[in-house]
Amino acid sequence: MSVSAEISSLIEPILQRHAWRPDRLVQILREVQEAVDFISDETAAHLAEALKIPYAQVHSTRDFYAFFYRENRGRYRVLFSDNITDRMAGNQALFEHMAKRLKLERGKVSDDGLVSIDYCSCTGMCDQGPAILVNNRAITRMTLRRVDEICDLIRGQVPLDKWPAEFFRVDDNIRRADMLLGTPHEPGKAVRAAIARGRDGMLAEMKLSNLRGRGGAGFTTAVKWEACRNAPATPRYIVCNADEGEPGTFKDRVLLQSYAGRVFEGMVIAAWTVGASHGFLYLRGEYLYLLQPLEAYLAGMRAAGLLGRDIGGVAGFDFDIEIHLGAGAYICGEETALIESLEGKAGRPRVRPPFPVTSGYMGKPTVVNNVETLCKVTEIAINGGAWYEAIGTKQSTGTKILSVAGDCARPGLYEYAFGVRIAQVLEDCGAQEAIAVQVSGASGVCLSEREFGRRIAFEDVPTAGSFMIFGKQRDLFEVARNFAHFFAHESCGFCTPCRVGTVLMKEIMDKIAEGRGTQYEMNELLRLQQVLKPGSHCGLGQTAGNAVADTVQKFRPAYERRLAETDFVPAFDLDAALSRARELAGRDDAAAHLGEEA
């Protein structure tokens, strides 16, 4: 079993570039797939031998990530983003149209090995969907016409680089700018300010600011930094979590596209404060289009003395940043799963404690901060913690960027001081007839009209930024069902309750959707939630049932109108189960079927 000379020659420079380092396995697999379209068992074995690691380790990593393929999926691999906002914008009709035009079945490659189409989780383009990925390159604002054009380009085997640039346009859609989005960036100013404050001084300002993490959990950033700084081991690492996978959120995309200086300077300031020498930006695979501009930006910072050796002229302040890409795994937004992925492994969350601040990347002290959090750091460096603390609410200081999508006139980014009411956001974005808002994504909370007076803040409605609006024409059952499918697809499989529970929940939602659910299924959903929430290993499983539980409670009629009017309908379809036997027996006559009355 070996790979062809051609494949070997394509793989060699990739391995060389990564110095045959096994901890680069995720990056190597990504580049290998880009070069040879898929990672066959032969290719995997070749990589294992070249990297001197077990074959099973390559399989384990390859098979974990949704964007790595073991079998040929074609030279053009089209994925339709399947967030609920894409659904609402009609992605299913577009998918069917493309499937028909290219004569394809979902997940199957065309006979000539040219193309395949499938669905994928939210790609972070909810403000300009429906969106697709072609070989991980994002295409926005899909229409039937654009589907036709893409079919022609694929059939004509036009290289992706030659496709119209307009397809790949990603707009920022900044609708409401406040202190972050509305302040011009002066390169180096924040880093110089932090250096002037000194390491202790900067930490003191961070404490004063009471800045809390923008990834959703709201952990106090200064506490994290201080714990890392006090951890005796070196080197220390700064990781920027740009694995923005929560359905409905896209703020980090905009920050990385148009505010990258702040993100990277935030990392430099973190490095200055905790004494770190190396940084990673973990960029979700869906944002591949940002890789080159971000690399260019880093090069510019190095040239300007803001990265590399003796940063800001301070002897011994050495720090640099490298970019790692994800490959289609929502779980890698969990910080320990992200670190596993950085180390080249499948992204399964670690047991905590120890926490990354003492034992993170390669077992060394590591700070993992969200993209937006790091941007806020630059504001604190420049203006001081006391100034920052005065904005927002007491427990939630500063501003928060919301990614607004769904049923509204003006989807996009809205930056508010913490404490803004849901109703205010709805008014500003032109959502007149909202019946529900899903705040903080699939793992967040579903608010009904009665709750629109509540505030965005850690002490009331906390959020990682996703804000999906549902108008009166929407069916909240279908929203929850979409999320149930999402979690079943994204569960890492490590712990029992999440691995099995998310699938059971999805199946029950499907059974209700088919009109075969009863009150029994409603109870089952809540019963599963009572096992998932307290019993799962990480936040994914703990929150996976939230949307279902919320909608069962707040939008019960959406469920009840689907219920069958009996006590119980079995999920098991006996007649369907006999299809294999009929096939083997070569029979399909009436006597080989079980009738309804049977």
Binding site: G493, C495, R499, G535
Partner: protein, 253 residues
């Protein structure tokens, strides 16, 4: 109990449990003769925390007893109706996720999954069976692998890596498609470095990794968990060591 001070003890369901620093809640409990249900834990291997059977409530917060450190004065809820209800659901999940047919399984009576199900009075699998299609690998001369019964506890993965130093097994895939893969160019057990003396062969809590040619050497009814419920075999659970020579393997070889 009087020599146990608060500084080196904690409580489980009101009972005082002494511990030595560095012990997990589960280790301390088993050492004290207190049973906490578990599947993915083994005394010879590092804590893992994936099966979640041992989830307890520590000072009001849920946590895995196998990974959480014992601390002075903590109050642990363990043997309560709420927690045992949840555990029963987890067992049902494991039963429907794989293909577990106890009456036809050689492991019956020695199987921890089955023993736990009996002990927690899991009367039926409750959920819809997934009936997954999973492979059986019989290519190894001494050992066979039946993934139908695998519960993803990774005990074999850890034993092979941490005790045998071989890395024969790994968990691959994601979510419900998670599965054990074998480290060999062909992916087959027969082409791997596995040997019958490996700890990995003898650590499987269910019937996924079985030694060949020893079928039914000990009659069903006289096996480890046939004699007494697993919850009454705390000393066995606390003190077992790998390689556990399977009950009848000695006479065969």
């Amino acid at each position: 109990m009087s020599e146990t001070s608060n500084a080196n003890s904690f409580s489980i369901d009101g009972q005082r449990i002494p511990f030595t620093p560095g012990q997990t809640i589960l280790q301390a409990a088993l050492a004290a003769g207190v049973y906490i249900p578990h599947l993915c834990h083994h005394p010879d291997l590092k804590p893992h925390g994936s099966c979640k059977l041992c989830t307890v409530i520590v000072n009001g917060r849920n946590g895995s007893a196998c990974t959480q450190m014992a601390m002075p004065g903590i109050e642990v809820e363990n043997n309560s109706p709420t927690l045992n209800d949840r555990r029963r659901v987890l067992l049902q999940m494991l039963f429907v996720e794989g293909n577990h047919f106890c009456p036809g399984c050689e492991k019956s009576g020695n199987c921890q999954l089955q023993a736990l199900a009996y002990d927690l009075e899991m009367l039926a699998p409750h959920f819809r069976h997934a009936y997954p299609v999973r492979p059986i690998d019989t290519t190894h001369p001494d050992v066979w692998l039946d993934l139908n019964r695998c519960i993803m506890c990774e005990l074999c993965v850890r034993a092979s890596r941490d005790i045998d130093g071989k890395n024969v097994f790994a968990l691959a895939g994601r979510g419900v498609d998670s599965h054990i893969v074998v480290n060999s160019p062909s992916g087959r057990l027969g082409d791997s470095a596995l040997s019958i003396d490996d700890a990995a062969v003898h650590v499987c809590p269910v019937g996924a990794i079985m030694v060949k040619r020893v079928g039914y050497a000990v009659p069903i009814g006289e096996r480890q968990f046939d004699e007494q419920p697993i919850s009454r075999q705390v000393d066995y659970l606390a003190a077992r060591h790998i390689p556990i020579v399977p009950v009848a393997a000695t006479e065969e070889r």
